[in-house]
Amino acid sequence: MMLEVIDLSRRYRSGSQWVSVLQNVQLRLREGELLVVAGRSGSGKTTLLHLLAGIDRPDEGKLHLGELVLSRNSPEVSLLRWRRAVGFMHQTPVLIPTLTAWENALLPFRYGGQNPDLAWVKLLFKRLGISGLENRRPRQLSGGQATRVALVRALARRNTLFLADEPTGRLDEAGATAVWGLLLELNRQEGISGVVVTHDPLILKQAHRVLTVQEGRLVEAVVSGRGDL
């Protein structure tokens, strides 16, 4: 089992009330599984992904990733280890404005304690069609280019679990096709597992499973995925 989520709950305070966004969410992600999460806006997809990425703490429940465990009271070090063990792409690409595209892509290595795999990062730039933009600053990049740099950054560490929040939300069809092509290839050839939040029909059929967030729970969608796992 790659990732296991047990009884996960998350609520937010809104004014004087508590709003429960996720309730008793269960999830088992097998190794090499590609999972798509859908759901209407505001349903809690980003909330779930932040919990899976270790950048938020659950109010209840537990998460397991290999040896790692996360819960409400996990110490800071566990969170750091978890974050370093996953590749996470955030819904809106945030690049550091003072760094070049290349330096932004290498950022995970600065904090991860791994040696940067430059050839790999170079290849990712190429595969996403942004070769030659390595020395540009974020303000010299288009929204789609910045999104792809953020994707390279999320994949740079070659973690076995990849999490992406609407990675093609700001891309045109060609860009989206390149991104899905790369993700599917990494999934098939490198066995990288993925949880991807998206509504893009291009990928729905390619995923092993499609789940939707509904009323704070993860529900198996009617769409049938591919059956190679």
């Binding site: 974050r83 760094l99 904090y111």
Partner: protein, 362 residues
């Protein structure tokens, strides 16, 4: 490098911050130097139970200290205070003339010395500038008593030689004497008389000899200490507020810089945290930035102040202000601590932002 780039994000804000740091550095360097000078000059040079007489004559005269004491029936001795040319000075070692530890300027003067009479000094021998020698009517081989600040007994030196030097007046000059206008100044020590009485006597004597003296002063040990304390208090009152205002504004600007950065950079920090950066990673990066700003501002302004003080002291013999390495280091360390401490609060707040909520805001 990255720290510098970060600091340069807002050139105008950086400029104001650097400027206030510069003013802070210059003002505190100056004030510390002046206080140090006052402290050194204020060291008691009068033995207990002794009165010091000093006056400057308005016109040249042949009156010698020995003659003055004898004709006034004063049971005292006369000593000189001033820059010395001892053996060790020639070697460039430090000497305590006027209590200044630096001989940088001395080294500069030495090559210009021309020996008029006698030879270069050995242990406990002394070179006397020609003009001072005339005033003191000293000869090669004669003994001169020199009083060092902070010591109670004069040290005896034998005059080894007489030199033609730009330091002609230094043996007799006192710090408070007007530059250039000084003819000569006698420091005599007398016992068992009140200072007022003695002052009147000295004035009467000078008048009877047809000599005009400016500022006849008779001081005992306590009076001297008091007058120096007043002087250094004066310096503090004038320069202290300047330094204080500059440093407070520098501190506020550093605080402001990082507090504003905090809002601006919350998202960047959040993404770094999401990628696995620890609190200390973030804190160190921000502190590196504070350091970059500090290094941009402080060492250059220290250098400028150093040069300024060097000029202020003048190339002349009568030097008051010496830039000191110790003071420069004090300012460097003090302002460094100030910058780092005022950056610390915002930096720590920055480091502890929670990535999730920051990353959700569009």
């Amino acid at each position: 490098m990255e720290a510098v780039k970060n600091a340069l994000r807002h050139p105008l804000r950086l400029l104001v911050l650097v400027l206030s740091l510069v003013i802070g550095v210059v003002a505190s360097f100056l004030i510390l130097t002046i206080l140090r000078t006052a402290e050194l000059l204020g060291q008691p040079t009068i033995p207990p139970g002794v009165l010091r007489i000093s006056f400057a004559l308005e016109a040249p005269s042949s009156l010698t200290p020995a003659q003055f004491l004898e004709e006034n029936g004063l049971q005292g001795e006369w000593v000189t205070l001033g820059q010395l040319f001892r053996e060790d000075v020639r070697r460039g070692a430090a000497i305590g003339a006027y209590g200044f530890e630096s001989v940088e300027t001395m080294k500069r003067f030495l090559p210009t010395l021309r020996l008029k009479q006698g030879g270069w000094p050995k242990q406990y021998q002394l070179l006397v500038p020609q003009q001072a020698c005339r005033l003191l009517s000293c000869r090669v081989g004669q003994t001169i008593k020199v009083l060092y600040p902070g010591t109670e007994q004069p040290v005896r030196y034998t005059v080894s030689g007489i030199v033609d030097s730009p330091l002609a007046t230094t043996l007799l000059a006192v710090p408070a004497a007007p530059r250039g206008g000084l003819d000569w100044r006698l420091w005599a020590f007398a016992r068992s008389q009140s200072s007022e009485e003695l002052e009147d006597q000295v004035r009467a004597y000078l008048q009877s000899r047809g000599l005009k003296a400016a500022d006849v002063q008779v001081l005992d040990r306590i009076g001297m200490q008091r007058s120096w304390r007043q002087l250094s208090f004066g310096f503090t009152v004038i320069l202290g507020p300047t330094a204080l205002v500059a440093l407070i504004s520098a501190t506020l600007l550093v605080l402001f810089n990082f507090a504003v950065n905090r809002l601006e950079r919350a998202k960047e920090v959040a993404i770094k945290r999401a990628l696995g950066a620890s609190r200390s990673h973030i804190a160190l990066e921000s502190l590196a930035e504070a350091m970059a700003i500090f290094l941009l501002a402080v060492p250059p302004s220290l250098a400028v102040t150093w040069a300024l003080l060097d000029r202020l002291g003048g190339g002349e013999a009568q030097r008051l202000f010496y830039p000191e390495v110790g003071i420069a280091l004090q300012v460097f360390a003090g302002i460094g601590a100030l910058v780092l401490l005022s950056a610390l609060g915002p930096v720590l707040a920055l480091a502890s932002t929670q990535p999730s909520s920051q990353l959700k805001e569009e």
